[in-house]
Symmetry: C2
């Protein structure tokens, strides 16, 4: 392109799973170098799937010896910087990433500042309430687990567990994002129950429709905290790995994370239990209660295990 | 004032503790009514202490039969609306309230959206970490306690405990705000320890100054989580009152709040313990550990007590 005194290489990328963005970019860099030139930047025409950007971000972080188990925003930032996507025109994730076109990345509650969320919680409005708070506790527990894994990965004292901690950080990020969504889902499910109770019930048809709507909404309001229990328990399982092999200087963070996950499971369990009596479907009730009781028992055991491990490691530090 | 076709009454208020704002306003309204006129609004010239605004907000909420145990922002909003402070010119709390001139109401972390706080937590940067998370857990526990008290106050099923729940909500709001500040303080204390470790140590004077700075900073980094323990335990004591007499429909929220407070105490305890070995002052270490162990033991007992009460009330609902 004479105007810029630069050469341009164009590709039509049809499947990023076959040709990942970073492979394409690195090959272009190599080829340019062979010709004595340098790649100064790149531009994306059209839209790109989120997963392609995340994969690229992880690739470049690992190439720099850094943990790829970082938040989505950070992965996108790294991908943009590494590919030089801002060099020719500004890369705006909101406009360029397919998934961001269809739905807002974060819900209303997740976007509230901490102080505002606490204020909203303290008011007598029904949402947000304990259910969303339990999901938030799980979010924080998973985040702390990712933090400890990231503080271990790349640390020269722990080369044997780098690979394990890298995976741990990536998994914990996923659980964190899932639980962040559940904060929203719990409040939405609760609002649906309230809406069902406000339906008219003058005619027989209306009464039947209302009963059905209440049943359906109450089931959903039970399944959301059940999922919070499941995902928070998974976060505890990751915390156990972090307690066993993670950076001992961050052992108190593993401990706090475990207590947060534990509070999430116990808190969500209460939300399952309080909703069950409102459901007619006896099989659903029995199945859900059995699942929830199993999860809470596992969480209690795991909490004791990790707590003992954390105390032991803190005592060793004292010596 | 001919221009507006209105009369104006001016006061010089020197001590709001002797003449509260709302008394002055209500007396003016009465006097106006006696003369066949109506107070259309008011204007504040100069600055006002925060406490005067909060007191006014609480007064008008109670007058409307609503709980005064709401967040600071809401109290100010009610005071402004009730006094008609926006009628003549816009009342901007940031410019009119004395305390808001000297310091920002919320710290950097408290202003982060939930998703951003979780992202920051998950990175390998040292702050925010487990200490701030423990304080956040306590914040949420206190907020849930306020919520349950507010859901009980004014509810026709619980007239006997209205007074108690009103006080409970107000106290829980205070604990919530205190813990919100401790989120910030914990990260600041940790950063000071890091800064002390980075001090130069070439000369003997430098070495001594550095050792002193580390000792001082580590003590502070121990006292902050100790305070998180104390305040979160107070929140648990309030949760017990809410579990005993509060709205039974919100019993799961009391339970979640208790687990959050409990996680806060246990989590902060780990932060006390991990900092102690870095301190030289043996008396300080022994005293602090003794205090912390007492607090954690109390929290464990209280958690069991409240948990049993919550389960019992949920079972009663099932029948």
């Amino acid at each position: 392109i004479e105007e810029y005194g630069q050469a341009q290489v164009s590709y039509n990328l049809t499947n990023y799973k076959i040709t990942p963005l970073h492979v394409l970019f690195e090959e272009t860099c190599k080829e340019a170098e062979r010709l004595g030139a340098r790649v100064t930047g790149s531009e994306l025409v059209g839209l790109i799937p989120l997963a392609a950007m995340l994969e690229t971000g992880r690739y470049f972080l690992e190439k720099q010896g850094k943990s790829p188990g970082v938040p989505e925003d950070e992965l996108i930032h790294i991908a943009v910087k590494s590919l030089g996507l801002n060099e020719l025109s500004k890369f705006e994730p909101q406009k360029k990433i397919i998934e961001y076109q269809f739905q807002e990345k974060h819900g209303k509650l997740a976007k509230l500042p901490l102080h505002k969320f606490a204020d909203e919680l303290s008011l007598d409005s029904p949402t947000p309430g304990g259910g969303s708070t339990a999901a938030l506790a799980g979010t924080l527990g998973a985040a702390l687990c990712a933090m400890v894994a990231n503080l271990t990965y790349g640390n020269k004292k722990y080369p044997d567990v780098w690979e394990e901690m890298k995976n741990l950080a990536c998994q914990a990020q996923q659980l964190k994002d899932k639980l962040l969504q559940l904060i929203e889902q719990d409040s939405e499910a609760f609002n649906k129950v309230m809406a069902a109770f406000r339906l008219p019930q003058k005619t027989k048809e209306e009464q039947e429709a209302k009963a059905k709507a209440i049943e359906q909404a109450t089931k959903e309001a039970t399944l959301v905290p059940l999922e919070v229990m499941e995902v928070s328990l998974q976060a505890m399982e990751l915390a156990k790995i972090a307690a066993e092999g993670g950076n001992v200087n961050a052992i108190s963070d593993v401990g706090v994370g475990t207590f947060m996950d534990y509070a999430a499971v116990e808190g969500a369990f209460l939300n399952v239990k309080i909703n069950l009596p409102g459901i007619q479907d006896e099989k659903f009730k029995a199945d859900t209660l059995a699942k929830a009781e199993k999860l809470v028992a596992q969480a209690r055991g795991l909490k004791e295990e990790i707590q003992a491990l954390v105390y032991q490691k803190i005592s060793n530090k004292e010596k």
